[in-house]
């Protein structure tokens, strides 16, 4: 088992839910990203999801799109991100790290993906590849890290089966029809779909998209094995990029952790 599987298993044993926090690497700069990753861990985050900036992030709402743009203006590439993860691993060896991004960026760095487990990365989430396709068909293969797939409210039952068979680590359930940072969660639909996913797989199902407040997280944690929070954190990071006063983010993450457990 790798770090991600160990962490999720451990939380399950303790009857706890996972808190996954997202940030875009290099927004506002890589030193700050590194600082924030440690702050995340100290504030009760179980898994860190690092957004790899791309010029055309079609699944992202305006908040995360702008963060991608800001990071790209600083010429952030996957190579820089991996170097930062190596630094993070000098003092943190157990918090799982998931890279989330778009196929074209990963294809262009297939050499890094091949070595990614040795570089401290635990899983890959490629937003724009259908979950039934195998990443190694696209030259990005590493059997030692997990492949996280998305399942959405519109995924047909036959495909849920194929996707779960092809996934490891956790299933990322997309709460809504929309881009990141949208609102309008339909709890009845979410509960039904997550229980449907559970019929096909025993790996944990975490819920993401549209989670803004600790009370959103609390409701979702009742049916999912954990929650993934992105846009609201990215928005808070941007708001304090000058002052670097991250106390509100710390408070917010602690509130989320309390809400789900």
């Amino acid at each position: 088992m790798n770090k991600l599987q160990i962490k999720l298993e451990d939380l399950k044993d303790k009857n706890k839910k996972a808190l996954v926090a997202y940030l875009v690497a290099g927004d506002p700069d890589l030193d700050t990203t590194l600082e924030l990753m440690h702050l995340f861990v100290n504030s009760g985050v179980d898994v860190i999801e690092i957004g790899v900036p791309f010029t055309d992030p079609i699944a992202e709402g305006p908040i995360i799109q702008k963060a991608h743009d800001r990071a790209l203006k600083k010429d952030i590439s996957l190579k820089n991100i991996v170097d930062m993860v190596i630094k993070f691993r000098q003092t943190n060896t157990d918090t799982p790290i998931v890279l989330m991004g778009y196929l074209n960026t990963f294809i262009s760095h297939s050499d890094l993906i091949e070595e990614s487990d040795k570089l401290g990365i635990d899983a890959l989430l490629v937003v724009d590849i259908p979950g039934e396709l195998k990443l190694d068909s696209y030259g990005i293969s590493n059997p030692n890290i997990d492949t996280i797939s998305l399942i959405s409210p519109t995924t047909a039952d036959t495909r849920i089966k194929q996707i779960t068979e092809n996934s490891s680590g956790f299933i990322y359930y997309v709460n809504l029809r929309g881009v990141t940072g949208s609102s309008n969660l339909d709890m009845t639909e979410i509960e039904q779909n997550i229980s449907k996913i559970r019929q096909y797989t025993s790996i944990p199902t975490l819920a993401g998209f549209g989670i803004k407040t600790p009370s959103d997280a609390k409701i979702l944690a009742k049916c999912a094995d954990g929650v993934i929070v992105g846009s609201s954190i990215v928005e808070m990071i941007d708001a304090v990029k000058e002052t670097k006063d991250f106390s509100k983010i710390e408070e917010y993450l602690k509130d989320l952790n309390r809400a789900i457990n």
Binding site: T55, D56, P57, S77, L78, S108, P130, V179
Partner: protein, 400 residues
């Protein structure tokens, strides 16, 4: 005869190009579209409905016109013009939208979205949506909204909503991103009319098939007018829908040269252009794998072209495949060459081509030297140039 036209395969690939690389939420919509299209494409009632609209609403067939003075000007072979500029709304784009709106109708979708670059696809989409009384939203890069203000107003007059897109380079690529985001959000009731042979499967196939009426007519008209098939068919390539529509029925005819002309911008050698088939590498953008203008880190590069409709870093996957197997040739001409051709065709033939189309004409000086005096060359006049008058006037230093 060959079987090079029997693509895409069941997974939506033309060789190693194409596919469906989209966020999960859209997979069901693509499957639904593919099933609908496969059920309807050979249905005689659907075909009749489509061709009726092409005749009576679009005004097809478009003429194949002998360009007397252009032919004399080059002094080589005969130059024929396929007059897609004479279609209703002024470009080939209407062929595809007439077809896709029928699919939307059959699928019971109430809301139509589209992206547009030069605005011609936006106009064509707003036109067919108005005709059926459907709500219509057009995404357009803010930079293109500025360059193509006439078309923006036309779209609004047709009752559609125009959404300027500020992100990225604020051109066609960003309009496509935003249209995809709208579709992800409103997937249940919305039909996305993609305007080129780009995007995820089944779009490159559907758009090609609907626009192939151009090439089919060309075969009939060539036989009628000069008793054989043309020696070469020339078309501009941005996403590549006008070229694909003209090329597709000729793919199996190995003796017909198929020539796609990309936007060379400041010159391919400067890197400031929109010519991925000439100076790009395979990558994944907007749901398909195809040639792409990208840097070493896999980030999509900004493009440069005087023509908004060609200002796109990607290209339809079937073109990438035709390039690799050597069935079609892809060249590039610069902004300056295209502008020169725009004036030349306008003055010699009394036909003002779109700046996109002017790129196809701009390759004639080279092509006509290669071909003998008996050769018949068809230029696909993909659209008319009225929409570009402001751009050309500005370049010529004229203020209204």
């Amino acid at each position: 005869m060959s079987n090079k036209e029997n693509f895409p395969d069941v997974n939506g690939f033309f060789g190693e190009y194409g596919g469906k690389f989209v966020p999960e939420t859209l997979m069901c919509a693509l499957d639904e579209l593919e099933t609908t299209y496969n059920n309807l494409k050979d249905d005689p009632t659907f075909i009749k409905e489509f061709y009726k609209d092409l005749s009576h609403f679009v005004g097809r067939p478009s003429p194949l016109y002998f360009a007397q003075r252009l032919t004399e000007h080059y002094g080589g072979g005969n130059i024929w013009l396929k007059r897609e500029d004479l279609n209703h709304t002024g470009a080939h784009k209407i062929n595809n939208t007439v077809g896709q709106i029928l699919l939307a109708k059959h699928m019971g979708k109430k809301r139509i979205i589209a992206e547009t670059g030069a605005g011609q696809h936006g106009v064509a989409t707003a036109t067919v949506a108005a005709r059926l009384g459907l709500e219509c939203h057009i995404y357009m890069g803010a930079e293109d909204v500025r360059r193509q203000s006439l078309n923006v107003y036309r779209i609004k007059l047709l009752g559609a909503h125009v959404h300027p897109v500020d992100s990225g380079s604020a051109t066609l690529k960003d309009a496509l991103n935003e249209a995809l985001r709208d579709w992800v959000t409103n997937v249940d009731d919305t039909y996305y009319i993609i305007g080129s042979v780009t995007g995820p499967h089944p779009y490159p196939m559907i758009v090609r098939d609907f626009n192939s009426v151009v090439g089919q007519e060309l075969i009939t008209q060539s036989n009628e007018l000069f008793n054989k098939l043309p020696d070469a068919v020339v078309a501009c390539v941005g996403g590549g829908s006008n070229a694909m529509g003209a090329f597709y029925p000729f793919i199996k005819e190995d003796d017909v040269r198929l020539i796609g002309v990309e936007a060379g911008g400041e010159g391919v050698e400067t890197g400031e252009h929109a010519a991925p088939l000439n100076d790009g590498t395979p990558g994944v953008l907007h749901g398909a794998r195809s040639y792409l203008m990208q840097d070493e880190a896999g980030q999509v590069k900004d493009t440069k072209s005087v023509s908004a409709g060609l200002d796109y870093p990607g290209v339809g996957p079937e073109h990438s495949w035709l390039k690799d197997i050597g069935r079609a040739e892809y060249v590039a001409v610069s902004d300056d060459e295209a502008l020169k051709a725009f004036h030349e065709v306008t003055e010699l033939e009394g036909i003002m081509p779109a700046l996109e189309t002017a790129h196809a004409f701009a390759y004639l000086p080279i092509l006509m030297k290669e071909l003998g005096p008996e050769a018949n060359v068809v230029v696909n006049v993909s659209g008319r140039g009225d929409k570009d008058i402001n751009t050309v006037a500005q370049i010529d230093g004229i203020e209204f």
